[in-house]
């Protein structure tokens, strides 16, 4: 399973049935387009940390705004391992 697919799965889990796969485009903004409030975004980040075995830095928590950006951060972290 690719990073993008895993992230999409986690977003669907956090959204609790309020989103469909079709909405989860790489450029989709977590807040404005997917409707994830700040708490839901925090939940998503923790689930992603668990899933990929990484820990986001304080700066990353504030800068990750789209699915694509999240995938980019995670892939660069995994590559550096």
């Amino acid at each position: 399973m690719t990073t993008t697919e895993k992230i999409r799965g986690l977003i669907l889990k956090v959204a609790k049935g309020k989103l469909s796969q079709e909405a989860l485009k790489p450029e989709a903004r977590l807040s404005e387009e997917l409707g994830l409030d700040s708490l839901a975004q925090s939940e998503l980040l923790v689930l992603a940390e668990d899933s990929f075995g990484i820990k986001f830095t304080h700066d990353e928590v504030w800068t990750v705004a789209t699915i694509g950006q999240m995938v980019e951060v995670i892939d660069s972290r995994l590559a550096a391992k």
């Binding site: 889990k13 409030d37 700040s38 708490l39 975004q41 925090s42 939940e43 980040l45 923790v46 689930l47 668990d50 304080h58 928590v61 504030w62």
Partner: protein, 345 residues
Amino acid sequence: MRQSAGILGTGACLPEQVLTNLELAERFGVTPDWIFERTGIVQRHIAAPEQACSDLAIAAARQAMENAATAPEEIGMVIVATITGDYTTPATAAIVQGVLGIPAVACFDLSAACSGFVYGMIVGSHAISCGFCNKVLVVGSEVLSRFTNQTDRDSAILFGDGAGAVVLGGVPEGYGLLATDAGTCGTEYQAIIIPAGGSRLPPSAETIAAHLHYSHMDGNQVFMFAMRVLGNSTLRTIEKAGLSLDDISLIIPHQANRRIIEAAAGRMELPLSKIVINLEQIGNTSSASIPIALHGVLTDGRIRHGDRLVLTGFGGGVSWGSALIRWHSPGSDQIHKKEKNDDNN
């Protein structure tokens, strides 16, 4: 052999005045549902102007001592977990002791924010186990409304005032506190902070004008910390006791925010049916939230002799603390009183 220590009686005190979502929604230009969706809270209790931390603590402690059938002269230590004490000095515990007529024993406040009550339980139970004293009064009491910027939406919708108390004492071996887990990650100390009023930034006209005497919180950082630590510390404590989640009847977490509790439960596959949540009518009362929730489930008859509970606190520091308790029906028989009432109805 070391004396096992457990809870002999509980008490709680909530101020009469409530602050509803409706009032806050009008203040901040949102809807009551918007607040509820983000917090799980409908109302919080707010102390009257003349009420301070010790007033709530004393009322909760009186009830706990009555339920534990414990006279003031039997108490050998008083611990008040609080971050909103009456004064910087003396300790609020000293005021509690004086008013309740407790003898000249060790009385001190414990500052570990929302983990404070569990820390107090750990310290108190060890004081009993090592023979320092026979009974310990542990109180969690907060008047957070005095340290909450009521014009800051994210803080004002969360915090309320209240107190909860327990009397700890000797219980038969195999009961009481069976395992504990506690820690602090001080590199993240700024996540929840009241910046001014201490020696780092003494109070001044400038600090007050800048609202630095109110609590400040990095909501995302706190959410992520709490979501990780709630489940991790709970499961670690259960493991230390050589038990599994199936052996646990109830988990009583710090009542921070419903979303945090649900997210943490989902992450660790903790069944929500075992998790006590009373946020709706009480809000987040920091160190007081766990003993208030414990008193609630006990008086509702949800705890029976032999049940195993986990109390788990997390918050400023950032800190966490958990305690696994095997319940021993105390001499005060709150449970039996409730059963009798039920039989009569």
